[in-house]
């Protein structure tokens, strides 16, 4: 096992470094697809001629977004399974290749720039079976002072508006519940599965090492990974949760740290198995943060809830009007801060790298100025190399922060009563409130943003 895991990991870690230049090359390709000529679907499918302008914002946002198919390079796209559910209409399953990059509508679903959308207001016969899509039109519309993108698919000469999948933003960010839900294995889900698989392979190899070398010194991959385990135990679990309770939560802290770390690292790999912006998607960080919060809150003891909801020794009026509302807000803000911190750091890093790559096309004046493109390539590659190193650091730091803050929330919840004056406790509390150390560690990566 070790013999498989070792090269696997070597590849994983080295990819992040060595493929920096490959990223530049690869992103030339993809960005070029979108920017100069548009990608294949755009050329044939776009109803409006917007082909010539290079639009860095669009390219970047497209690259960090989730997708239903895995675009590798040029025309090579890896199809992913789709599970689409429209209330009242039932489930549509299949591979994303059945949409032919947007040229075919299946059961009323159309692929629009990598994401699956659904026709709205189309006649019933269009919502069944396959239909050829002539093109997808894009217009913008001002709604409440904000620009909104409107997409429409033209089928048999008629334009139908496209619905994006339902999202849980409550309509605040331009999303909301639409006519269908997308439970597909998207790029991000695929990468998460890959991260989970790698973690299982890695750690089962390590665990086998412990079985094999029982009573002996660790060897191979076991001795490579043991410091991580011991570090997380001694630097996160024990100080944050305390000697008495840490053993129960050590597995959770380990899982969350390594899951976040591997998703971060896979996100740094610029080509196929990586390249998806997993932890830079708020759905992922939201799920992880909420799980952390739930773990902390369901293990909260009486002392914790008493101090949160009805702080003893404080006048009732202050409790009712100030303290309890603030503490309840705190219960929500804690996971919210976890969610936003990870999301913002990773997304920001990806945006910076993609912006630097975009310099090539901006300096190159959209392919007309080769010298400018060359200068942009030199500058862009140099800065991208630098940013990639910082992103690598951020990948570790953010995983560490996510784990340490989760641990501090758990630690605050399981802390025993009458513990208050002990040394060390106040430090924990400060971190739990996002105080001194939390600020310090989050401050560490601010240059990256």
């Amino acid at each position: 096992m070790t013999s498989i895991a070792r090269p696997l990991f070597f590849c994983l870690f080295s990819l992040a470094f060595t493929l920096v230049s490959a990223q530049a090359v690869n992103d030339h390709g993809t960005a070029g697809d979108h920017g100069t000529a548009g990608d294949e679907t755009d050329v044939h499918q776009s109803c409006d001629a917007h082909g010539d302008d290079y639009d860095p914002a669009g390219v970047i946002l497209h690259h960090i977004a989730d997708a239903n198919e895995f675009h590798v390079v040029g025309d090579l796209t890896i199809p992913l399974p789709v599970f689409l559910y429209a209330p009242g209409e039932g489930l549509t399953t299949g591979l994303s290749s059945m949409f032919h990059h947007g040229e075919t509508a299946v059961d009323g679903y159309v692929m629009n720039h990598g994401r699956i959308n659904r026709l709205s207001g189309a006649p019933a016969e269009l919502m069944e079976g396959e239909h050829a899509v002539e093109c997808i039109a894009h217009t913008t519309e001002m709604v409440d002072g904000k620009t909104r993108d409107i997409y429409a698919a033209r089928i048999n000469g008629e334009s139908y508006l496209l619905d994006a999948p339902s999202v849980g933003d409550g309509g605040l960010l331009g999303g909301g519940i639409t006519s269908f839900y997308d439970f597909s294995i998207t790029k991000n889900v695929f990468t998460m599965l890959l991260a989970a698989l790698l973690l299982i392979l890695l750690w089962s190899a390590v665990a086998r090492g412990y079985k094999k070398n029982e009573g002996k010194a660790p060897t191979g991959i076991q001795s490579l990974m043991e410091p991580f385990f011991v570090f997380l135990r001694d630097e996160i679990s024990i100080p944050m949760i305390g000697e008495k309770h840490y053993e129960r939560f050590q597995p959770f802290i380990m899982t969350i740290f390594f899951f976040v770390l591997f998703c971060n690292l896979l996100g740094l790999i610029p080509i196929f198995p990586g390249s998806s912006n997993v932890t830079g998607n708020i759905a992922v960080t939201m799920a992880l943060a909420v799980i952390s919060a739930i773990v902390a809150y369901i293990h909260g003891n009486r002392h914790y809830w008493e101090h949160t909801l009805w702080m003893p020794g404080v006048p009732a009026a202050i409790k009712i009007f100030i303290l309890t509302p603030v503490e309840i807000l705190g219960l929500v803000i804690k996971p919210f801060s976890l969610m936003v911190r990870l999301f913002a750091n990773i997304t920001a890093g990806h945006i910076i790298i993609l912006s630097l790559i975009s310099l090539i096309f901006i300096f190159g004046n959209n392919g007309e100025n080769v010298i400018g493109a060359g200068a942009g390539a030199v500058v862009g590659a140099a800065f991208t190399l630098f940013m990639n190193c910082i992103e690598l650091l951020v990948a570790f730091v953010q995983a560490f922060i996510f784990a340490i803050l989760s641990a501090s929330y758990i630690g605050a919840a399981v802390e025993d009563a009458h513990h208050h004056d002990e040394a060390g406790h106040h430090g924990e509390e400060k971190i739990a409130e996002g105080g001194v150390m939390g600020g310090a560690v989050t401050g560490m990566h601010t240059p990256a943003n």
């Binding site: 990598g114 960010l173 750690w203 029982e214």
Partner: protein, 170 residues
């Protein structure tokens, strides 16, 4: 340039599917890794920690024991040395005493012999003196008898003799 015509900022919109899959994948991963890796590793590490602690304690105990043993040996050695010194001193003292005693005895014996001899010589001398005196006395008497027998045969001699004796008396 400013319009976002390709894709909106979709990463900030929490997609239900992605939330669903994240939760499922994370929980399954947690369950699998917990069973497959974390628990066994935790157990193994704890056991190793315990073993190391036990070994250290054991080593400490052994060292203390050896120290005690060494101290004991040292003590015994010192005791033995003291004993030896004591025995030697004692022996020396005894031998000196014995020599002195023997010397005294010899001296006393010699003195006794000497004094005995002196006393015997004295006694013999005294006895000899007594014998001598007795002999001399009888010889004197004999001589005196002979002289008296010869001189007193005439009257004149007798008379002279008496006169002499009387003169001596005066």
């Amino acid at each position: 340039m400013t319009t976002l015509f390709l894709a909106d900022f979709s990463v900030i919109k929490p997609d239900f599917g992605l939330i669903f899959w994240t939760v499922i994948i994370f929980l399954v991963l947690y369950a699998i890794l917990g069973k497959l890796a974390w628990k066994p590793i935790q157990r193994a590490l704890r056991r190793r920690d315990d073993e190391i602690q036990t070994s250290i304690d054991e080593a400490k105990r052994a060292r203390a024991e050896m120290q005690a043993q060494a101290d004991e040996n040292q003590r015994l050695l010192i005791e033995a040395r003291e004993e030896r010194t004591r025995i030697i001193t004692e022996a020396e003292r005894q031998s000196k005493e014995m020599i002195a005693a023997a010397k005294n005895e010899a001296r006393e014996a010699a003195q006794k012999v000497a004094s005995d001899a002196r006393r015997d010589i004295d006694n013999m001398r005294k006895a000899a003196m007594v014998d001598l005196k007795k002999e001399v006395g009888s010889m004197a008497i004999e001589i005196a008898e002979k002289i008296l027998q010869k001189d007193l045969k005439s009257d004149a001699n007798q008379e002279a003799f008496v006169r002499e004796l009387v003169r001596d008396l005066n």
